[in-house]
């Protein structure tokens, strides 16, 4: 963030258009480069959430699976806030407890 962006934010103004342009480009290029269509990405997102929620209780609303790109490498980034861990079926059940600090594990898979 530049000083101008910061001042704009303080004054409740829109960010400078160059900042918007960069953000829009990064998003569109992540999709262009991976060549994944939105339906496929959505399906993948649902399945990932499904798998993860088998083990831990996650905040579906806050959960976010997206494509990011840096240095011409596209990464699938999942940011899934954990509400609480679920007792595993094989283990002795322990009373549910809130995960301290609400960790945000980031799961990354890189694609050249």
């Amino acid at each position: 963030m530049t000083l101008r962006d910061f001042i704009n934010k303080l004054l409740g103004r829109q960010p400078a258009s160059a900042t918007t342009a960069k953000q829009r480009l990064q998003l569109v290029l992540a999709h262009d480069r991976s060549d994944l269509n939105p339906e496929l990405l959505e399906q993948m997102r649902r399945e990932i959430l499904e798998v993860v929620s088998r083990y831990v209780e996650i905040d579906i609303e806050e959960g976010d699976v997206s494509l990011e790109t840096e240095d011409r490498v596209t990464a699938l980034v999942a940011n899934l806030p954990i509400r609480r861990t679920k007792p595993l079926p094989q283990q002795e059940s322990t009373p549910d407890g809130d995960v301290p600090g609400e960790a945000d594990p980031v799961w990354t898979a890189s694609q050249a």
């Binding site: 530049t2 160059a18 342009a21 480009l25 011409r72």
Partner: protein, 274 residues
């Protein structure tokens, strides 16, 4: 793979998007390289919409084109149009648009291979788009210069082209950022130079400031680098030519082009705070 002729280089000039300055760069860089003593050939690979002849002011001197050379109806030296004021530069004009129906990447490689036998540098002016015209031209090049402007559509299209060039193993691929407006950049109403280089992940070969003289020079068919013009774009093209030849020439800093208090304030506002 293109035929390697020792010491001779073939450089593709491409952008993806049309109208960002490919042909203007080819014409100006061609003249600038020739003035530095390099035997330079510029090849118009845009058979559909050829314009390189017009920007070089050679449109009235075309007799044969790449088409007659390929079909064996004339020799290469008969088709080449030498620039009168800069004899180190020759243009091989694009053939008829109907050539697109039968032209193959091998044909392009043949032409470029022939040019490389008698020239130090062959600049290939690539057509816009990523279809056959692009593929034919790219197949004949070993290196590439991607030109773009600081606009979202141009950068996106450049990214597509870079992806395709990478797949073909073309390198080095270098970037020219065209139509830079320092004032808009200072106000952060135009993508910054670093934004574009970060996104495209290419080394910067040159920055060309927006310059009205470019239009004046195309009107006349006299590239800016031809008459020793000191205009900002002419300097930029000359610097690009020197860098192509391996000279280490510092890039201009768009923020330092402007002087005074407003410019200082603009620079302060661009400070990255986190």
């Amino acid at each position: 793979m293109p035929v390697t002729t020792s010491g001779s280089r073939s450089i593709l000039i491409c952008s993806g998007k049309g109208g960002v300055g490919k042909t203007t760069l080819t014409a100006n860089l061609g003249i600038a390289l020739a003035r530095q003593g390099m035997r330079t050939a510029v090849l118009d690979a845009d058979f559909g919409l050829r314009n390189l002849d017009l920007l070089l002011g050679l449109e009235n001197r075309i007799v044969y084109t790449a088409q007659e050379v390929l079909s064996g109806n004339c020799r290469l030296d008969q088709a080449l149009v030498k620039h009168k004021l800069e004899p180190n530069l020759a243009l091989l004009p694009a053939g008829n648009p109907r050539m697109l129906e039968w032209l193959k990447p091998e044909d392009m490689q043949t032409i470029v291979g022939m040019l490389r036998e008698s020239f130090d540098i062959v600049l290939i002016d690539c057509p816009a788009g990523i279809e056959d015209g692009f593929k034919n031209a790219a197949g004949a090049a070993e290196e590439a210069i991607v030109i773009t402007t600081p606009e979202v559509s141009a950068v996106r299209d450049a990214d597509r082209v870079i992806g395709l060039l990478n797949t073909r193993g073309i390198k080095p691929i270098q970037l020219v950022l065209n139509r830079v407006r320092p004032k808009m950049m200072a106000n952060q109403e135009m993508l910054a130079v670093d934004d574009v280089t970060d996104i495209l992940a290419l080394p910067l070969l040159g920055l060309v400031l927006e310059d009205e003289q470019v239009i004046v020079s195309t009107n006349r068919g006299e590239p800016l680098t031809l008459n020793g013009s000191g205009s900002p774009a002419a300097q930029a093209y000359n610097n690009i030519a020197r860098r192509v030849c391996g000279e280490d020439v510092p890039l201009i800093d768009p923020a330092k082009v402007r002087r005074g208090l407003r410019a200082k304030l603009g620079r302060l506002m661009q400070t990255k705070i986190f």
